[in-house]
């Protein structure tokens, strides 16, 4: 599928360019803009980004694959990310994670067939003081319990 940035996003990208002395430095921000427009970073997106930033496709692929927040496949409408790192683990994160896996029938990194949910086990999110926690897309849900997590999933269906 061909990919072109919208006019509005091209303007946004120009504002990003103004922040840095090189075009290449805009790469991470431009990838976010692309991901917002296209929902994930396809091969075509990477080609377009490389052209725009005057860098090689390899450089773009290298960055996309290095950082966990760029998706090369379309995630679910609700991307559930559960932290299981130590502070969350000590407060029951694995119960929550296992319950979510069971409830959605998904494994780490999978997306449901209807495209509604994808789930991911993630590292410390900086919410250790309000652990356990999960993210639903960009939103932090803190002081989480298994019950709350399952209710939330029901309410999103």
């Amino acid at each position: 599928m061909e990919f072109k940035f919208t006019e509005e996003n091209l303007e946004k990208i120009n504002r990003v360019f103004a922040k840095y002395p090189t075009k290449k430095a805009a790469l991470m921000a431009v990838l976010y803009i692309a991901q917002e427009q296209n929902r994930y970073i396809s091969h075509e997106v990477m080609q377009e980004v490389a052209k725009l930033l005057e860098i090689t496709e390899e450089e773009v692929i290298g960055v996309v694959s290095f950082y966990t927040m760029y998706h090369t496949h379309q995630p679910g409408k609700y991307h559930l990310q559960v932290c299981t790192n130590v502070s969350c683990m000590l407060r029951g994160a694995y119960d929550i994670w296992n319950a979510i896996k069971e409830k959605t029938g998904l494994e780490d990194g999978q997306t449901s067939e209807d495209g509604l949910f994808s789930i991911e086990e993630v590292e410390c999110m900086g919410s250790c003081g309000t652990a356990p926690m999960m993210l639903v897309n960009e939103d932090y849900i803190e002081n989480l319990t298994k019950e709350k997590a399952l209710e939330l999933i029901d309410s999103l269906k």
Partner: protein, 438 residues
């Protein structure tokens, strides 16, 4: 106790309120001095970095070359990805203007016209909050080109936010610079250090969010005032983040040198069910774990923790009660470093994987009798043999957890395990590793 970084003032995050309480006066004061005078004040105050290494902030600034034809840069580290750390986000939310003012002063001191605040990508909300504060400050001419007119100075600095995208390693200073340049976050071999060869090969200083938020107060109230707070060699306050098995987890701003037990029992509400503490990590998961029965009288400052065999790190205090399965905890910690290793150095890339494999085997009850020595050996072969400190961060928890809680690990060994002779320093035994065992 007076709070410096997170004062108890309602709506302090709003520009009007911040200004009403003397906000953006410190930068005026600083601009009336020479950059060297500002550096000297910060040096004398004894302020040390809050990002993990507790290095003297004034001294770091003084490494920046005075004469150079290259631009100079300031990087502000808000990557905050160390497990157990959740303090910088409080500053974005509750005191963004003091951070911005600290950035202005630091930039003036080192002679930089461009500052990048690197914030972890998952902090969408806190990025928005800081951006809002920045926009407000720009709108009033407190930042950027308009500073010249506002403050009647020749100096100006622009502040940009750079959003990360999920990589713990980008908190390491050279990886952070690579990331701002639009590359993978691969740490650089040092030397050269950032003050010589940093962002785009130019002189660069990197400071943590909390570090710089202290600076306006030091300029306003003087270095003598700051130096008198808390521990003599590590003065000021710290945002202690307490998590795990406590009744009131959260961030508490207290002087350096506060008793660890005071923080846990008087501020964080003690341990649920009045259980005993088995293990405590005082500075984020990269720092050596301590035994719960060794924390009586322990003070939270760089020197005291070093003497106790750990480190202040980010002051993220993780508390584990007597029922905690430390084998599982160590396996989880190791998984983190295995996932986050950037893969440049063989000992780190391979070693974290091996350690994870062995520890997972222990958790699964399939440990072999030689596994304790093996995992410690792998760890000690990472320690000191890598480009960046993530190697040590991965090795230390393994080495020290096993040294300090060896009995817990022995308990999960199979029945062929022969306990070593008591009083031997087990952690340093050199079991010969052959790769084909894996």
């Amino acid at each position: 106790m007076e709070k410096i970084v997170l004062p108890d003032i309602e709506n302090f995050h709003e520009l009007d309120v911040y200004k009403k309480h003397g906000g953006y006066e410190a930068i005026r004061k600083a601009l009336a001095q020479t950059p060297d005078e500002v550096i000297d004040t910060v040096k004398k105050s004894g302020l040390r970095g809050r990002g993990g290494a507790a290095f003297s902030t004034g001294l770091k600034w003084s490494f920046m070359p005075k004469t150079t034809d290259k631009p100079k840069y300031l990087c502000v580290n808000g990557d905050e990805s160390e497990p157990g750390s959740f303090k910088d986000r409080q500053i974005f939310e509750y005191n963004p203007h003091q951070l911005i003012e600290g950035i202005l002063i630091a930039a003036y001191a080192i002679g930089s016209n461009n500052a990048y605040v690197y914030i972890r990508g998952e902090y969408h909300k806190w990025i928005r909050l800081l951006q809002k504060a920045l926009d407000d400050a720009y709108a009033e001419g407190l930042v950027g080109e308009a500073m010249k007119k506002t403050y009647g100075t020749n100096f100006h600095v622009d502040i940009f936010i750079h959003k990360g995208a999920g990589a713990y390693i980008c908190g390491e200073e050279s990886a952070l610079m690579e990331s701002i340049e639009g590359k993978r976050g691969y740490p650089r071999v040092k030397p050269p250090f950032p003050a010589q060869n940093g962002l785009w090969g130019c002189p660069t200083t990197i400071n943590n969010i909390e570090t710089l938020t202290n600076v306006p107060a030091i300029i306003n109230k003087g270095w003598e005032w700051f130096a008198a707070i808390g521990a003599e060699r590590h003065p000021g306050t710290i945002l202690y983040g307490v998590s795990g098995h406590v009744n009131k987890p959260g961030v508490y701003e207290l002087p350096t040198g506060t008793l660890l037990t005071d923080i846990i029992y008087n501020y964080a509400g003690g341990v649920p069910g009045d259980k005993k503490i088995k293990c405590i990590i005082p500075g984020g998961s990269s720092m050596p774990p301590l035994r719960g029965d060794s924390i009586e009288g322990l003070r939270m400052d760089a020197e005291s923790l070093k003497a106790a065999g750990s480190s202040i790190g980010t002051a993220g205090i993780m508390v584990m009660d007597e029922d905690t399965d430390l084998v599982k905890v160590l396996a989880r910690i190791t998984r983190f470093y295995y996932i986050e290793s950037c893969g440049q150095c063989t000992p780190c890339r391979e070693g974290t994987g091996w350690m994870k494999k062995i520890l997972d085997r222990m958790v699964a009850g399939k440990a072999r009798s030689s596994d304790i020595d093996l995992v410690v050996n792998v760890a000690s072969n990472i320690d000191g043999n890598t480009i960046c400190a993530l190697g040590e961060a991965a090795a230390w928890p393994v080495m020290y957890m096993i040294e300090r809680f060896r009995d817990e690990f022995e308990a999960v060994m199979d029945n062929t395990y022969v306990p070593p002779i008591k009083n031997k320093v087990h952690s340093m035994r050199q079991t010969k590793i052959t790769v084909d065992r894996y």
